[in-house]
Amino acid sequence: MTIDIEVNNRTIKATKGETILSALHKNGIRVPTLCHMKDLFPTGACRMCVVEMEGKKNLVPSCSYPVTEWIKIKTHSPRVIKARKTIIELLLSSHPDDCLYCIRNGNCELQSLSESFNIQERRFAGHKTTKQIDRTSESIIREPEKCILCERCVRYCEEILNISAIDFIGRGSDSTIGPEFNNGLNISSCIDCGQCTLLCPSGALHEKTNFNIIIEALHNPKTHVIAQYDGAFASSISEEFGIKSGKDISKLINSTLKLMGFDKVFDTSFGSDLYITEVSQQIINNIKSNKNLPVVSSHCPAWVKYIDKNFPEAKKLFTTVKPPQQLLGKILKTYYAEKISIEKENIFVVSINSCTAKKDEITKPNYSSNGVKNIDASLTTRELAAFIRIHDIQVNQMIETLSDLPFGFSSSSGKISAISGGLTEAIARTAYYMSNEKEIQPPRINKLRNTKSTKELTISLNKKRYQMVAVDNIKKAHQLVKEAMNGDSNIAFIEVNVCPQGCINGGGQPLKCDDEILKARKKYLYDIDNRASIRTTYKNSEIKEIYSKYLDDPGSKKSIELFYEKHILKQQKYDSI
């Protein structure tokens, strides 16, 4: 039911029961907010969205006040503007306001609000609480002094992710947001997904950056520096340079990387191709031997960390294949190192992706051998953009170059695995071919291309019907795995992404993302797939070559040695080790 309401002496339409804020937004009237989050229950903490309502003594928060009848409001009356301005001034009075030293300088919501309210005087000067910076996590830095307690991270972590790694601590002006007992993030329930860094308006939560080791490697003549980037990065990097989202600038990025001193630029999707091949083989094997089903994906490091912390028994269902970027890293430090005759110690691999949790993944001991890491550094999309800015390169003026061979080329299957459901689609194609020796028709699987948090596909493998499920919600994934642990499920494969919609919405992606931008990123990757001539991993000639020259077959002794997680194999009591 629609109701007429009067806003700023103009009548607009509102749906009964919706909040004033939502009605205002629909009608193009903008009201500033710091704590509002679409689709979540309003918390009413920041009070920035207050409006003046006739008949009410106090100002009314538009984000939580439901429209139930005709009301008359003013969104920008002097009283409202004064209140909003005072709130910003109060926030600034306890903010370190060292903007010049802040990672969010230039794209900080507090900064821009302060600018738009024309604040030019420090009206309230007083005590500022000193709080420790938390650098304990491998991926996320917490700077509580900069926190304005908008609660976005807390609510997202609790309500969407179901992790609750951080919450309010203390009371009144001593309040802070942090993990339990104000310990470090590293020993909290945090799984490094980094969604909070996307939401934080002020730079209190951001990714941990270490450019120095990369710069040193780039300028060490002995070191052969390789960049590998994935599809999620390619889908969004254009946004960082003011180019519209979904525009392909990867060829420009290739030459930019080369200009900065990278010796080779490869595509992590090649690793995905390997991953898809190996995991498909494993699914077929497990179906044949009828054990360890379903196979659960391990490509999302945040999901792996979640299971390690909360449900370690489920680890035995996990695929034993290492994550895609590690596979490529491993190949680079073995096969490729031999091929170009450089010691693996002198190869430095930088993985560029959309993920903050991968920063944690690369430090794990099982992803290095004899002290040599498979991946030496992991950069997020945001960080790479910052890294390019350090080198003062105008990306749009570069000349397009292709990425290097042999690992710069992948099937489009490897690309779409950056979207939730994409990995399942890719594995369905390969596993179907492996099992039935013919191609799945059509290769485009629409059932896996929607925005639902659970996507299901029924597929015939080894002459039986099996289900494949893609989930991008931890709570549902946990439930699904728990049910699968009890046996009796008909599921062959479960793909889990912690970030809603998958890696394209990863914690390291450009800020200020919305549904439209996500759609554009998705379209970019699906377009590649729709246009591609090689859409399946088994048609990728480079993959074929590496198997014939080096690895024999998927699941061979060599593959197991290089690609498999030994500890999961042990848990599954594999015969081959």
């Binding site: 009413g44 920041c46 009070r47 928060p61 009283r79 309230f124 002006s173």
Partner: protein, 643 residues
């Protein structure tokens, strides 16, 4: 006693045929203390009594009774209200009126009991005697209702407090307890009860003053799987102890109120949210709940009416903000106690997202009397729009500190000068702070204001939950405002920005103007600017804060500014505190005539601000002096004076 209680429940509440039975009638008379068979000793054992030494008094009495083979009954009651006279000890000898003594610490017990053993009374420390139709009075001792402290009170909620054994259900039943409840569930429909309460005009006593029955109607008319009742006993205002005294003194009346409310709103699960420091109240309440369960007054199918009710006590961790209903709900749900925006109101969507009635202890304790005596009786008390009585805790600079219950419409002057007995040492009255930390300071010119919701709103004050703090001329209003805003700053939950950051800045501004001024123009300017901001900031906090606590947080400061502006200005411009409270603004000088050069002040001064040689007059170095006043306190020759 237990078996007789079951009989009593049956006879009194179900059969009503007891009138023919003389032995029961006699038992009821005993329970009502109309007659006593042996001497009965009552000791006020509320938290206030215990703090004044009632525990020791009780031990001393027990010892005396043992040693002297004195056969007497010892009863521990709640607080009768006159806390400044605690420990209060009453004695009722067979055939004679009950008589009360004040300040009976353990040493004084012997005197009284020596007299009692000889069936006479000790003549000192006497407060009053109780009126009784069945016994003879003592000559020359005033009746309780004639004492000024009680004369102007109208006790409904507190009617049993301090008089009866709070945990003796027989006494409560004999005094007419649970009659309203049994009558309600057996003979009335929930709608009838809601209608009675609506007509009575009862409004929420927790501070808001929202009509109680309207709240009930919203919940009763909402369809939901479950509905809950919460009794808010999270009383955390500094200087407020109404709820504590009610629970300690008469837990059954509260439980009866809860039970009637639950029945009237179709609720079967009630919670009492009580703050953890209220240990005694919690203990007595739990015992009272257990007794009611044993007697079949709580639980399933109460008195065969088909009505079920379970009451659960939830202990709050002691956060001030948990008195706010949405924060309280979050706390019961096991979450961090922080408020959420309203609407939706708890009456529609509250505890576990179900419709929830939240009422304060005092509100609920009023219900049994309203049902028993009728809405018209209740409507008669008080003013037109504010009916009934209100309990206040009288504290501060008054002679009679304690708990009072007055009809709405009583003036502030009546309370201070009649009930509270005026201000000690004939000091001048300055202000009264009504309504807890977020209430207002009411100055002398408004002392004839009536206490009811409308009159208080007119002068920009609030009823609050019932704090009543009187201050005299020795109190600095800036300091008082600073105290309250400091309290609220610490108690703020930290969720919304205006309250979290604003109260902190307000406190800092007040700190600034009460501090020893630094030399230089910049500091003077910042002091001046601070006060300009104080008002603006206060208004923004009022306008934009999330919950009721934030919205009223600047009230004490704003009202002090409104009524005592000249005192603020003195602090800023003249750097003077007229009450000599603000240490930073005090300065001292040494009177050369009186100073003997004893060097005590010199050695005690923490800032080395005093110089001088032994046996010759000393001097204060003003720049170093921080105004702490230690020298003033230690000087034996009155040589140090305040400038």
């Amino acid at each position: 006693m237990n078996e007789s209680a079951i009989n009593l429940v049956e006879e009194l509440l179900i059969n009503a045929s007891f009138e023919q039975r003389s032995e029961l009638k006699q038992y009821i008379k005993l329970c009502r203390r109309d007659t006593v068979e042996k001497p009965v000793i009552f000791v006020g054992g509320g938290t206030c009594g215990r703090a004044a030494g009632a525990t020791d008094t009780i031990a001393a009495i027990k010892q005396y009774l043992d040693e002297n083979n004195f056969d007497a009954e010892l009863v521990e009651t709640g607080c009768i209200g006159l806390c400044s006279a605690e420990p209060i000890m009453d004695i009722q000898l067979p055939g004679r009126n009950r008589i009360s003594y004040k300040n009976i610490t353990k040493e004084k017990v012997t005197n009284i009991l020596d007299a009692a053993i000889n069936s006479t009374i000790y003549s000192k420390n006497v407060l009053w005697q109780f009126e009784n139709d069945f016994s003879t009075q003592w000559e020359g001792i005033p009746f309780i209702q004639e004492v000024p402290f009680f004369k102007n009170q109208k006790r409904i909620v507190l009617s049993h407090c301090g008089k009866t054994d709070p945990l003796n259900i027989d006494e409560y039943l004999a005094l007419g307890g649970f009659k309203s409840f049994s009558n309600s569930i057996l003979n009335k429909t929930p709608a009838q009860i809601r209608d009675n309460v609506l007509k009575s005009g009862l409004r929420g006593r927790g501070g808001g003053g929202f009509p109680t029955a309207k709240k009930w109607n919203i919940t009763a008319n909402t369809t939901a799987e479950h509905k809950y009742l919460i009794c808010n006993a999270d009383e955390s205002d500094p200087g407020a102890f109404m709820d504590r005294a009610i629970i300690e003194g008469d837990p059954f009346m509260l439980l009866e109120g809860i039970a009637i409310t639950a029945y009237a709103t179709g609720i079967t699960q009630a919670y009492i949210y009580i703050r953890s420091p209220y240990i005694l109240a919690k203990k007595r309440l739990q015992k009272a709940i257990n007794i009611c369960k044993e007697q079949g007054l709580l639980g399933d199918n109460i008195l065969n009416s088909g009505f079920n009710l379970s009451i659960k006590i939830v202990i709050g961790a002691g956060a001030f903000v948990c008195g706010e209903e949405t924060a309280l709900i979050a706390s019961i749900e096991g979450k961090r106690g922080i408020p959420r925006p309203k609407p939706p109101y708890p009456a529609e969507r509250g505890l576990f997202n179900m419709p929830t009635v939240i009422n304060n202890v005092e509100t609920l304790s009023n219900i049994p009397s309203i049902i028993n005596k009728g809405d018209e009786w209740f409507k008669e008390i008080g003013t037109d729009k504010s009916s009934g009585t209100k309990v206040f805790s009288l504290t501060g600079k008054v002679n009679n500190i304690g708990l009072i219950e007055v009809p709405m419409g009583t003036t502030i002057r009546e309370i201070i000068y009649n009930i509270a007995g005026g201000i000690p040492d004939n000091k001048k009255f300055k202000a009264v702070q009504i309504g807890g930390p977020s209430g207002s300071c009411i100055p002398e010119e408004l002392i004839d204001t009536q206490i009811d919701y409308e009159s208080l709103e007119e002068i920009d004050a609030i009823m609050g939950s019932g704090g009543f703090i009187v201050v005299d001329e020795n109190t600095c209003m800036v300091d008082l405002a600073k105290f309250f805003i400091g309290f609220l700053k610490d108690a703020s939950c930290g969720k919304c920005i205006p309250c979290r950051e604003g109260t902190r800045r307000m406190k800092e501004i007040l700190d600034e103007i009460t501090k020893k001024p630094l030399n230089g123009n910049h500091h003077s300017l910042s002091r001046f600017k601070g006060v300009m901001q104080l008002e603006q900031l206060g208004e923004i906090i009022e306008e934009t804060s999330l919950c009721g606590l934030g919205k009223t947080a600047p009230k004490p400061v704003l009202s002090a500014l409104k009524y005592f502006r000249e005192e603020f200005e003195e602090h800023i411009y003249e750097r003077k505190c007229r009450a000599n409270v603000c240490k930073g603004l005090r300065s001292y000088e040494i009177n050369i005539e009186n100073c003997t050069g004893c060097t005590i002040c010199l050695s005690k001064c923490p800032e080395n601000a005093i110089m001088g040689t032994p046996r010759s007059p000393h001097f204060i170095i003003e720049d170093k002096c921080i105004g702490c006043g230690i020298c003033y306190d230690v000087c034996k020759f009155n040589a140090i004076t305040i400038k």
